[in-house]
């Protein structure tokens, strides 16, 4: 067995030089590639572009809420119908076209083959198809902005009968395009997810046992399994809703033997596991980052996995906590309250594992570490406020208020946005071969996190005071307004504007570093996992010589070693063997 250092020069195996003479046209390299890293980039850039669109929509409707009835700079007058479209599309885009493609698809594609020591996915062409279907879905969704009556305005949960009849939601064409786009997006992630699962099951490097797989890979794979198991019924449900809209079927029509509640069950049977589909990859990313920058072994690798499995299983029996006021049987509400409160136990345990990992570590406050730590802090607020909403008694009051809005933004923002920035700051050197600027990174970090809190803490207060999330302008319902809340609404809007403004620092940092950043070494963070044993950026085919794995991914500060890290592929030298 050659050591990695000599292997890098002496490889020229049958596999390595095959790729060295690969000349590709622009079309084949960037648009028709089957390379998992290129597909990851495609997902990443598409997701980032959608995030900018989603952020712009949030800016527009927040301006309307702060200054109702006035022209919004950069948009114009927000009418009630447009307002509905704006909030619907903001939610849809951020969940399905930002959180999912970036966290699951982009990082799943980039990290899984590299971290398990493989050259690509087991089905590279299916992988390419997955992105193409995803791109098509994004185009269908964006096209719906420009059809007659505009984009769908029936809320991102798309409850019938509102969503089933154009006469109710006033956006008949937008509603059908929305369903079509969402269904296509599901197909894309089913293709991608099954690929992830099978690649991890069958494509691992020799020596990598179940417990040697880095947590982020585990988390993305489990997220893909959760997605697969939860989305099936909703695919069926989406087809049924589409038929109700277009062919006059009676699935959700109570007048003809259907039941509108059925959609809520199908939607939330998917919708709640979906929260964990987005959360788990972020938890995995954070686990990788905090172990590297605390220079400590993860406090409980298996504990994290067991709790993840527990979370995954429990996530399938909590969905009706979204429907406490929908008229479900109160005895059922009791059951779902209990399961909902139960699911906070494994998640809390996981957070404790992360905190225990930090305890006594030699912590380096780099940009990725700051993002990872802020994930723990911010997600904690989201988790704790979830306890209020999971208890059916409190939820009857809080339902559909801004308290709910603030709560789920405190879960999704840390997962999707903070998780994405953490991962980008951490793996940027491996993706693009250069280091990002730390100063710009820290300015961006503090601006984003502070502005995020300025945006959503006021909404907890207005929500607790009774602000309803579906109201377009309280100026039209003065009898329902409470004095003193308008200032908080304005504060929240200012938070959004500052939050969006600070993203400029990220964009500058990202594109400036592409050309001018410090050239990244192979292993800039002195990390253990396999992706750091290949050159930066990772070459086509990944590994010059396919690695063999000797240990778990978190062997930091192992006693009796000169260096405080121990790469997974480093064989034990005879000297070390004697010392052990």
């Amino acid at each position: 067995m050659t050591t990695p250092a000599t292997g890098a020069q002496a490889h020229l195996g049958s596999h390595g030089d095959e790729h060295a003479h690969h000349r590709q046209s622009f079309f084949h390299k960037y648009l028709w590639s089957t390379d998992h890293k290129m597909i990851a980039m495609q997902y990443l850039f598409t997701g980032a572009a959608m995030a900018l669109i989603g952020g712009y929509l949030a800016y527009v409707f927040r301006m309307q809420l702060a200054f109702p009835g006035q022209n919004v700079p950069g948009y114009g007058l927000v009418t009630p119908g447009k307002y509905n479209s704006l909030v619907t599309m903001h939610g849809t885009i951020m969940i399905f076209w930002v959180a999912m493609p970036v966290l699951v698809a982009a990082f799943g594609n980039f990290l899984i083959p590299l971290m398990i020591g493989c050259d690509d996915m087991v089905f590279p062409r299916i992988n390419r198809l997955s992105y193409q279907v995803f791109l098509l879905s994004a185009m269908v969704l964006l096209a719906s902005f420009f059809v007659h009556n505009g984009a769908f305005g029936g809320a991102w949960t798309s409850y019938p009968p509102l969503s089933a009849r154009g006469a109710y939601n006033l956006t008949p064409l937008g509603a059908s395009l929305w369903l079509l786009a969402v269904a296509l997006e599901f197909v894309a992630f089913l293709l991608g997810g099954i690929n992830f699962v099978v690649t991890t099951m069958n494509g691992r490097a020799p020596g990598m046992r179940m417990w040697d797989i880095p947590l982020v890979v585990w988390m993305i794979v489990l997220a893909s399994v959760l997605f697969m198991a939860s989305v099936g019924p909703l695919i069926a449900g989406a087809v049924m809703l589409f038929f109700d809209q277009r062919l006059g079927t009676a699935f959700y029509d109570p007048g003809r033997g259907g039941d509108p509640l059925l959609w809520q069950h199908l939607f939330w049977f998917f919708g709640h596991p979906e929260v964990y589909v987005v959360l788990l990859p972020a938890l995995g990313i954070v686990a990788e980052i905090i172990t590297v920058f605390a220079r400590k072994k993860l406090f409980g690798y298996r504990t994290v996995l067991y709790t993840t499995w527990a979370t995954g299983i429990l996530s399938f029996v909590v969905w009706a906590h979204h429907q406490f006021i929908a008229g479900i049987d109160p005895r059922m509400a009791n059951v779902f309250t209990i399961t909902t409160l139960l699911i906070s136990v494994p998640i809390t345990e996981m957070i404790f594992v992360y905190i225990a990992t930090l305890y006594g570590g030699s912590i380096r406050f780099t940009t990725p570490m700051l993002w990872a730590l802020s994930f723990i802090a911010e997600f904690l607020i989201g988790g704790v406020t979830g306890i209020f909403l999971g208890a059916s008694g409190a939820d009857i009051y809080f339902h559909d208020t801004y308290f709910v809005v603030a709560h789920f933004h405190y879960t999704f923002f840390p997962s999707a946005i903070i998780g994405m920035f953490a991962a980008l700051a951490f793996w940027y050197p491996k993706m693009f071969g250069r280091m990002m600027n730390e100063t710009l990174g820290k300015i961006h970090f503090w601006g984003t996190v502070v502005a995020f809190n300025v945006t959503f803490i006021p909404l907890f207060i207005t929500g607790a005071a009774g602000d309803q999330r579906r109201i377009y302008s309280y100026a039209l319902f003065p009898e329902q307004d409470k004095p003193g809340l308008q200032h908080l609404r304005e504060l929240s809007t200012i938070g959004v504007i500052v939050l969006l403004a600070f993203q400029v620092f990220f964009l500058i940092n990202f594109f400036w570093s592409l050309r001018h950043g410090k050239v990244a070494p192979e292993n800039p963070w002195l990390s253990n996992t396999l992706e750091w044993t290949v050159p930066s950026p990772a070459p086509h085919g990944n590994f010059a010589e396919m690695p063999t794995v000797y240990r778990g991914p978190y062997e930091y500060s192992a006693p009796g070693r000169e260096t405080d890290y121990w790469p997974q592929n480093q064989p034990i030298s005879p000297l070390e063997e004697a010392a052990l």
């Binding site: 690509d120 087809v239 062919l247």
Partner: protein
């Protein structure tokens, strides 16, 4: 693709990747059909009057189709056996017999639906018919897709190429069969 990638050579679980992914695809399909069927059963329990609509389905045609589909699965097993014995020609013959079963199934279905539509029972005729056409239609699409893929695999198998695929399409075909075993009593017999 100039050569097989490392990813395609490895098989850490010991299960060939093609068979493994077939199982995962079947798993994902189970959730799609599961969602539909559970929705249907819940509605059916809440609406005893759907039995009147269900009485209009042709149980005899359904029973005949069940027999055809189950027989075709036997041929799928025989094709697998032939493929295991490296006998591509024989495997192709059995695969074509299997797809013949699928084709008969679809033709009978076509007559059934034509008859029902002529009687005025269409997709929008109410709760039962919405489910009837959607569930059976989705199943029919799976039969059609399986039939086409099977003919492609058969033409390769006849040249002794890609014989492991015979087993994968067989797995899928059994799955489509099993779904029908659920649909037949739920849509035809329960009255």
């Amino acid at each position: 693709m100039s050569s097989r990638s490392i990813a395609n050579i490895r098989s850490v679980t010991g299960i060939p990747t093609a068979r493994l992914v077939t199982w995962w695809i079947i798993a994902s399909e189970i959730f799609i059909f599961g969602g539909l069927l559970v929705s249907y059963v819940m509605h059916r329990l809440a609406h005893p009057e759907w039995a009147i609509a269900a009485a209009n389905t042709n149980t005899k045609a359904g029973a005949f189709n069940t027999f055809v589909l189950l027989t075709s699965s036997l041929f799928a097993v025989l094709a697998h056996q032939a493929a295991d014995a490296e006998n591509g020609k024989k495997a192709a013959k059995f695969l074509r017999l299997t797809s013949l079963g699928g084709a008969i199934f679809l033709i009978v279905k076509g007559f059934e639906w034509t008859h029902e539509i002529k009687e005025g029972f269409v997709l929008s005729s109410g709760g039962f018919w919405s489910f009837y056409y959607t569930v059976a239609g989705l199943h029919g699409l799976h039969v059609l897709a399986g039939l086409i893929i099977m003919l492609i695999i058969a033409s390769d198998a006849a040249k002794n190429r890609d014989l492991p695929r015979v087993q994968c399409i067989g797995l899928y075909w059994h799955f489509v069969d099993i779904i029908w075993i659920f649909l037949f009593p739920l849509l035809y017999i329960a009255k």
